[in-house]
Amino acid sequence: MKSHTLSVLVENRAGVLSRVAGMFSRRGFNIESLAVGTCEEPNMSRITIVVNGDDVQIEQVMKQANKLIEVIKVSDITERESVDRELALIKVAAEPGTSRAEIMQIADIFRAQIVDVGTKTLLLQVVGNTSKIDALETLLRQYGIKELVRTGKIAMLRGSKTVKSAK
């Protein structure tokens, strides 16, 4: 069992996301993360899905996804040279005093930005791969995380290779 990153190109129509997500859950696949948005062509969307499973299970879920009429292409890019990113917003408890400075220092090391400052909180924005965000999250836990939101992973192949429909 391991995490696989699937890039799914779909028609940009109402209900497509629920069709795709519903198929995963119906067949017992646990979605770890799912991110969706428009892509280079206006009538298509790209869904990046991170899902756990062994090779046979992943092959099966890809075939099942391919059967959906509005799915144009499914690619497993786990093993391929790719860039993957996630964005997180983290609201950390930061009473005036020493902890504030510490948090700002940590943010600096992680190249996170402070995008809002409250009287008792700091709001950090961080972009990176999943493990970087996980690491930052662990570090900030000791100060108290008030709220956290992550976009889910998006990924793209390096170089001139693309995940595109055949036509």
């Binding site: 779909v10 209900g15 519903g22 075939k63 059967k67 009429i69």
Partner: protein, 558 residues
């Protein structure tokens, strides 16, 4: 300018639709008004579930797309079991449902249900039409998707305003349909085909395992030709019955939980399994590790997702079964020497026939054999679900595809009677018989009203054991005879038939069987036969759930 309803009816006519099974309601009134003076025949059922099953029966018997129509909310929801039944058996059906007006969508309006959401897991695809200008195109696409590739049901949800409003700018239909996300593969890969052929030529103990896909792609002739040329014995699934004539010397009969010993032994011992249009269903394979344990597996299927789903496959061939078999026949060089194997298999067939006690009791197997003897393959036989289904599969001699309709994948009680109605409209030239259990018949017994109203000559053979027989059989064998809620009080089905104005006969003696069947088949119009059979008769042989298929109990020996 035309209303959406008018455009809809024209689109259906363009698809060649001659019959629709349906039930009206508020949100489909505009459609019913258009139907009123259209050339399309509409059959008013008594329950929407029956409309879906009838459309399914029509499709299975004819090979064309079946159509059903229901109103929004409760009407649409009542279609769901029928749609799911068609989905599991890959039957091309287009289900049309009414919907509340677009402006009220999502408001929990009167008789609103999110039917596209509800049916997403049980349709090949579905549509909510929000604009009348899209209607013609959506209908064209719906029929295309339902009937091509691996067939399946497609639902089109039609808000009332879409069918009521005038459509100002009708979009011209594209000359051909091209969906970039839907491109079924029809031709098998030549290199894979050659690989399969050489494996077959080398095999010492090959077996063909053929299923519903053979029927769906109209590949029976090719399958039989291939089996004969290569001299390979064939076993079929429940869904594949009829694609090889039952009395063909190479036919081993059905395999699986209630399969024949010859078929199950052959599968267990084979060294090459040619799986054709099948999906390795658990009722077929039993314990999956023990299914064809020593075989190299070649699997032909139009749906790539079926290949390797339940069992690893050595040579996958994605394509239409008929086209692949044609290519195989063309490219076949020589056929293997399987004489020793064929004698062995033939010997199993001789030693372990499907039998039943030949005494004076009224036994269901006897009734089915008599029916088979009378019809001689010239009829369509539909079953319900349970013992009646398995007895029919084992004792009726199917000689042609599309003459056997049964709910295989979902196992839907109540399927048979309405499906028989659909089959009649698909093949009005053929007698249609529904073989029923008393439990299953009561699941859609209200359709007696439909067959009476339109004088539909469907014959119902009730194998009345006053039990939910198949469940009782499991209770007998695996639950210490504790018959928990499986006994049904006696029902006088003849009287019920008469209440609808339909003729019927009750039969309690073996000697009366033949004459009763002949009377039913020669009487015009519908007929109900109430056979009071041996109450605790069982279906044998049987491989218990979870066991290997060669570990059968109740094997009959000669």
């Amino acid at each position: 300018m035309k209303t959406g309803a008018k455009i809809l009816i024209e689109a259906l006519q363009r698809e060649g639709v001659d019959t629709i099974f349906g039930y009206p309601g508020g949100s489909v009134l505009p459609i019913y008004d258009e139907l009123y003076d259209s050339s399309i025949r509409h059959i008013l059922v008594r329950h929407e579930q029956a409309a879906a099953h009838a459309a399914d029966g029509y499709a299975r018997a004819s090979g064309r797309v079946g159509v059903c129509l229901a109103t929004s909310g409760p009407g649409a929801c009542n279609l769901v079991t029928g749609i799911a039944t068609a989905y599991m058996d890959s039957v091309p059906v287009v289900a049309l449902t009414g919907q509340v007006p677009t402006g009220m969508l999502g408001n929990d309006a009167f008789q609103e249900s999110d039917i596209t959401g509800i049916t997403m897991p049980v349709t090949k695809h579905n549509y909510l039409v929000k604009n009348g200008a899209d209607l013609a195109g959506v209908i064209r696409e719906a029929f295309y998707v339902a009937g091509t590739g691996r067939p399946g049901p497609v639902l089109v949800d039609l808000p009332k305003d879409v069918t009521t409003n005038q459509v100002t700018a009708e979009r011209p239909l594209p000359p051909e349909i091209c969906l970039r996300g839907y491109q079924p593969t029809y031709q098998g890969h030549v290199r894979q085909i050659d690989k399969a052929l050489s494996l077959i030529a080398e095999a010492a103990r090959p077996v063909i395992y053929a299923g519903g896909g053979v029927v769906l792609s109209n590949a029976s002739a090719e399958l039989v030709a291939f089996a004969e040329r290569a001299a390979i014995p064939v076993t079929t699934t429940l869904m594949g019955l009829g694609c090889v004539p039952c009395d063909h010397p190479l036919n081993l009969g059905m395999l699986g939980m209630h399969g024949t010993p010859a078929a199950n032994y052959a599968i267990t011992e084979c060294d090459l399994l040619l799986a054709v249009g099948v999906r390795f269903d658990d009722r077929v394979t039993g314990k999956i590790e023990a299914f064809a344990p020593n075989a190299t597996i070649v699997h032909i299927d139009i749906d790539p997702a079926e290949i390797g789903k339940n069992k690893p496959v050595d040579v996958p061939i994605v394509g239409d079964v008929r086209m692949v078999l044609q290519a195989m026949l063309e490219r076949m060089q020589k056929h293997g020497e399987t004489n020793g194997w064929r004698t062995r298999v033939a010997d199993w067939k001789k030693r372990y026939p499907i039998g039943f006690p030949d005494d004076d009791n009224l036994r269901p197997q006897y009734i089915i054999r008599q029916l088979s003897d009378i019809l001689k393959g010239e009829g369509i036989v539909v079953s319900e679900v349970g013992q009646n289904q398995m007895w029919t599969a084992l004792h009726y001699c199917f000689t042609k595809p599309r003459t056997w309709l049964t709910s295989g994948g979902l196992g839907t009680m109540g399927y048979g009677f309405p499906a028989a109605i659909g089959a009649h409209y698909a093949r009005p030239d053929m007698p249609v018989v529904d073989i029923a259990g008393d439990g299953s018949f009561q699941m859609n017994i209200q359709e007696l009203g439909t067959v009476a109203q339109y004088d539909i000559p469907v014959k119902v053979v009730v194998l009345n054991n006053m039990y939910l027989g198949m469940v009782r059989q499991w209770q007998e064998l695996f639950y210490d005879r504790r018959y928990s809620y499986t006994e049904l009080p006696p029902v006088d089905f003849v009287k019920i038939a008469q209440a609808y104005g339909i003729d019927g006969i009750r039969v309690e003696e073996k000697e009366a069987v033949r004459e009763a069947l002949e009377t039913a088949l020669t009487t015009d119009g519908p007929f109900v036969l109430d056979f009071r059979i041996e109450r605790e008769e069982n279906v044998f042989p049987m491989a218990p759930a979870g066991a290997a298929i060669n570990e059968m109990i109740g094997v009959h020996r000669k």
